[in-house]
């Protein structure tokens, strides 16, 4: 199994990635760990350089994992850097067919259904798939990427509203830091929410 992180820019540093890596390593030392990044410095795992063409910013680089040129094969498991591992999540990762994403069950307001806002009830903080089987996602994006970069705020919206099929993980796998502060789950997703501050506070006090 390949476990992949994507780090672009300086919003998150190598310490964020290494912490996530070490927290997963204690539960799965047999997987191959990779970080897809333009800055491999101080990273403890293998790195895959971010391609220079097409140049993409921020989370859009995640889509390249679905390119047929992405140099990995077999089962893939992706984690956003702003996720925290609380206990062993691996028993939940046993289906690598198709695309599996996080069910944002906390987004239950009808406001998320406004069609012209292109909002979604999933997020791609954690993804499973098998390399080579989801290339149509990248291919569709690449053919008209400038339009999609304007239309969607992120890859979650692109995946859902461009009609790609997906499954979701069991809801007990994920805790939303913002919406479910008291839930106990193997993975906490911060969804960019002050994760840097939270990380710094935690590392200083632990």
């Amino acid at each position: 199994m390949n476990i992949i992180f994507v780090k672009w820019g300086n919003k998150y540093n190598s310490e964020h990635v290494n912490t996530l890596y070490l927290s997963l390593l204690q539960y799965n030392s047999k997987a191959n760990y990779y970080c897809y990044t333009e800055d491999p410095s101080n990273l403890l795992m293998s790195t895959i350089p971010i391609v220079s063409r097409p140049r993409l910013k921020r989370w859009w680089n995640k889509l390249y994992m679905f390119s047929h040129n992405f140099p990995l094969s077999g089962e893939c498991l992706f984690f956003d850097i702003d996720t925290r591992i609380n206990k062993n999540p691996f028993p939940y990762f046993n289906d690598f067919s198709g695309l599996t994403l996080i069910d944002c069950h906390w987004k239950n307001d009808s406001i998320f259904d406004r069609p012209h806002n292109y909002d979604v009830r999933i997020n791609s903080s954690v993804i499973t798939w098998t390399s080579g089987t989801m290339n149509d996602i990248w291919e569709k994006f690449y053919k008209n990427k400038d339009y999609y970069l304007r239309k969607y705020k992120g890859i979650d919206r692109f995946i859902v509203h461009e009609g790609f099929t997906y499954k979701t993980f069991p809801t007990e796998l994920i805790q939303s830091f913002k919406f479910e502060p008291n839930k106990i789950a193997p993975i906490t997703t911060y969804e960019e929410l002050d994760y840097g501050d939270h990380f710094t506070k935690n590392t200083k006090t632990n």
């Binding site: 063409r53 140049r55 910013k57 400038d146």
Partner: protein, 211 residues
């Protein structure tokens, strides 16, 4: 311009109707289409055309531009720049190139009587075998690809180009901090015009004309 805006309103109605009665549901096209003709788009493009007109006659003979100059517009979106060029260059061949297939579809309806050729392609692949190459969206092109495109141009081709320093937009992958940086990047043999305007106190738009 009024007739063009009326046609754009018609296209917006069609997009909305499609979202009601067909499988096509792309309401963002409405916003995109409106953005393509907003005040700043028209201002920026008219500015470049004004400067191009100022230098056009003096260089016409030197560059053997002939009676019917050929324009290629790279990343021309729905065709506003092509239309504004047509207003000033009545006897010319104008081709709008954009990789988005819907731009071709909508643009050729809005500007159907303006004698504008619409091509769905990446201008980097299409090439710029023309007298005047125009792109007001250099910030959207890959840095190396666009540089390669300029290197491959015929010697006589005049380039009228715009970029900006608005780095925070996801689709802006070829911004430049200053006008001089933009000029340095383009590496033209001779710069005939250079200028800069501030848009909404938010970012600077740079124009360079040269060859």
């Amino acid at each position: 311009m009024e007739i063009i805006l009326q046609r754009i309103l018609k296209q917006i109605e069609i997009i909305y109707d499609d979202s009601m009665y067909s499988q096509t549901n792309d309401l963002y096209r409405i916003k995109d289409l409106i953005h393509s003709v907003d005040y700043n788009q028209i201002l920026s493009k008219r500015w470049l055309i004004t400067e191009l007109l100022n230098i056009f006659n003096p260089i016409k003979n030197k560059h053997n531009l002939g009676e019917i100059p050929k324009f290629i517009i790279g990343g021309g979106w729905y065709g506003l720049m092509a239309y504004l060029l047509r207003e000033k260059f009545e006897n010319s061949l104008i081709i709008n190139v954009d990789m988005d297939p819907v731009c071709l579809d909508i643009g050729s309806k809005i500007y159907h009587d303006q004698d504008i050729g619409f091509e769905q392609n990446d201008v980097v692949d299409y090439g710029i075998d023309c007298d005047i190459f125009v792109s007001t969206s250099v910030e959207h092109f890959d840095k190396d690809d666009f540089k390669f495109l300029l290197k491959s141009k015929p010697k006589h081709t005049i380039c009228a180009l715009q970029s900006n320093d608005w780095e925070k937009i996801d689709s802006h992958i070829n911004c430049h901090k200053t006008l001089d940086d933009f000029i340095y990047y383009l590496s033209l043999k001779e710069v005939l015009y250079k200028g800069e305007i501030k848009i909404n106190n938010e970012y600077s738009r740079f124009s360079v004309i040269g060859w």
